[in-house]
């Protein structure tokens, strides 16, 4: 797709976000200094060592990173859905004024589904195979808000209709295995919305889907965000998906946030060498193989993350000083990076603009 079209799309969404800005002066979601650890035997392994994230109502924020970057764990921590053995070891998570890290079980139940809806990667496995799809949606609706069985059913049918199901009354009675992957993902979205949440967390929602289906599902999610004034956090490894639908991109590497900014700025003028290297390594339909540059080395394994800047061993810009710890710092309004050498990147940006 020509780049203009993408930019057009992005500005569209942005205007919407700006419209919504007044209502969302206070961030709906704010995550700071989040640390997540795996307790293995006596050892504790850092999986996420510093994650910071915020989202306002009506805003779509993408968290981008490769496998092992800690993006999915960060997302799950927000809903208190970390796997057994993995826990939050420090930092704060606030959702709509609720302190998630310190919350008791009852608060968390009210939060899940009621304040935070979640969409998963694998629509094949995210639905209960022995339960009708309608019942699964209705159940989510009944868990929040006092609905009778009939009301919950009506709500589920209404949601199915909103998700683009024709004849929702009839589809209500289907089982997950009777639906295609894209349709199942719509059911998952309906479940996530049934409790009337204000924040929608999406964990690689389109990775398992074909490209044409991906687009439809993404459009549906973005449409809902503006219609219902939801905040959306979308975790993906696909920079293209992030570029296409979000207002802000947060890049994670080795359990840390390394850069954050608007898609236009971040994807065209990155201020962290990892982002830059990633962009140079992703083939596009306009680029040729001569322009493609591999990143040397492999992403570090959890528990083996180098001290200082974690990208240092793979970085083309690294200097000895990069071995010292580095903090996220704002470089221009709305742009944050965790790189000591960002001045070099800024100079490169100057040069390309000149």
């Amino acid at each position: 797709m020509p780049a203009e079209q993408i930019e057009g799309k992005m500005t569209d969404v942005k205007t919407k976000a700006e419209d919504a800005a007044p209502t969302g002066a206070d961030p709906l979601l704010s995550v700071s200094d989040l640390r997540i650890e795996l307790a293995a035997g006596g050892d504790r392994i850092d999986l996420v060592s510093s994650a910071a994230l915020s989202a306002r109502r009506g805003e779509v924020v993408a968290v981008v990173g490769e496998s092992g970057s800690g993006k999915s764990l960060t997302l799950r921590a927000i809903a208190g859905l970390l796997p057994v053995g993995i826990e939050v070891a420090g930092g704060r998570i606030d959702v709509d004024g609720i302190d998630v890290v310190g919350a008791d079980a009852k608060t968390m139940r009210a939060l899940r589904g009621g304040v935070v809806g979640m969409i998963f990667q694998e629509p094949m496995t995210a639905l209960n195979p022995t339960m009708r799809i309608g019942a699964q949606i209705a159940e989510a609706a009944r868990a929040h808000g006092k609905l009778s069985g009939g009301e919950a059913k009506a709500r589920a049918i209404e949601l199915l209709g909103q998700m683009g199901f024709t004849e929702p009354e009839r589809r209500y009675r289907l089982y997950p295995h009777e639906l295609s992957g894209g349709m199942r993902q719509r059911v998952v979205i309906a479940i996530a919305l049934a409790g009337g949440p204000s924040l929608l967390l999406c964990d690689e929602p389109t990775t398992a889907l074909d490209a044409t289906v991906t687009m439809k599902v993404l459009d549906l999610i973005v449409g809902l965000a503006s219609e219902l004034d939801l905040g959306i956090v979308l975790v993906t490894h696909d920079l293209g998906v992030a570029a296409r639908i979000c207002d802000r991109i947060v890049v994670m590497y080795a359990g840390r946030v390394v850069e954050e900014g608007s898609p236009e700025e971040l994807l065209q003028y990155p201020r962290h060498p990892y982002t830059l290297a990633l962009l140079q390594a992703v083939p596009t339909r306009e680029s040729t193989i001569e322009q493609l540059q591999a990143i040397r080395g492999t992403p570090p394994t959890a528990g083996e993350i180098p001290a200082g800047c974690p990208f240092r061993p793979r970085c083309a810009f690294a200097e000895p000083e990069c071995a010292a710890p580095v903090e996220l710092a704002e470089v221009t309004p709305g742009r944050v990076t965790a790189c000591r050498r960002q001045a070099v990147l800024a100079a490169l940006e100057e040069r390309s603009l000149a």
Binding site: S72, P83, I86, T125, G303
Partner: protein, 301 residues
């Protein structure tokens, strides 16, 4: 270069966040660490090892001849100087009979599972890998034999063949192989569909070698684990046959026969039936623990 020296724990283990759906189970295994199956395995090996050692050494350590009758000393209570565990209704030394019975039962059980293990696994792998009519035929045979209650068919077979150690081994093998065959067939079909097998075929590795070098090593451990729990069943079958008078022909000692003979004296000489029963339970427990431990080790991989 990370290739030099040991690799860190493979990425797949700690990498809880991959493109594949998050596997909570894998994390669970990791957090439990090495505690897993080693405890069971060790306990099982100690129990079974002790029993096998006792059985093998029976000719040396048994205080008496297990079939020697002593009419003057019948139904002696345990603790007696010449009969440590007492004697039975024919004055035979219980301890000696017990040791020989353990020896006989364990040896027959192990003997009885080796044949079906080998035949069943081989047939199952061939049928599963080749598919076609051979496979259909195997599935048919398996379905028919599985339809019988195992013990009933076993008793019927032993009955028509006439009692004896050889009969027991043949009868167990004739029935039991289908279970190994079914297990190996399923695994072989799964492995044959794996890309590494296709890659070997594409690379020109001949079929026989694909089966022997690629498929069998990847499924055999599962069959071994099954064989251990199967041994429990076979021990139970053998002693049941003995109890029903269809087992090892008397006077050779067998735990089931000992229980059958002891049941008449349960209210006076309880040990005659209780001790051999406990010996069966302990033997089976040893085998089950080994199976359990092996299965957990296998799972962890």
């Amino acid at each position: 270069m990370n290739a030099v020296g040991g690799m860190p724990p493979s990425a797949a283990e700690i990498d809880v966040e991959s493109r594949t759906p998050m596997r909570f189970g894998a994390v669970g295994n990791l957090t439990r660490g090495a505690l897993g199956g080693n405890g069971s395995l060790l306990a099982g090996l100690i129990i079974l090892g002790t029993l096998i050692a006792l059985g093998l050494l029976a000719p040396v350590i048994a205080p008496d001849d297990p079939v020697k009758q002593d009419i003057n000393n019948i139904l002696v209570s345990p603790g007696n100087a010449s009969h440590l565990l007492g004697s039975d209704q024919l004055g035979r030394d219980t301890l000696s009979r017990l040791l020989y019975a353990i020896r006989n039962d364990i040896l027959i059980a192990l003997g009885a599972i080796i044949l079906p293990f080998l035949i069943g696994t081989l047939v199952g792998v061939l049928a599963g890998y080749r598919g076609g009519w051979v496979d259909s035929l195997l599935v048919g045979i398996v379905d028919v034999i599985i339809a019988f209650p195992i013990l009933v068919l076993l008793i019927a077979l032993v009955f028509v063949l006439g009692p004896g150690v050889r009969t027991i081994i043949i009868a167990v093998a004739a029935i039991d192989w289908v279970v190994y065959a079914r297990l190996a067939r399923t695994s072989a079909r799964r492995e044959a569909a794996m890309e590494y097998v296709i890659a070997a075929q594409v690379g020109g590795v001949p079929t026989r070698r694909v089966i022997v070098r690629h498929i069998i090593p990847n499924l055999i451990s599962q069959s071994v684990v099954y064989a251990m729990s199967d041994a429990v069943l076979v021990i139970l079958f053998i002693t049941t046959l003995g109890f029903l008078g269809l087992g090892i022909p008397p006077p050779a000692p067998d735990l089931g026969t000992m229980i059958a003979e002891g049941q008449a004296y349960l209210n006076s000489q309880w040990w005659l039936a209780v001790i051999p029963g406990a010996a069966i339970v302990v033997t089976a427990l040893g085998l089950s623990l080994i199976a359990d431990g092996l299965a957990q080790k296998l799972d962890a991989r």
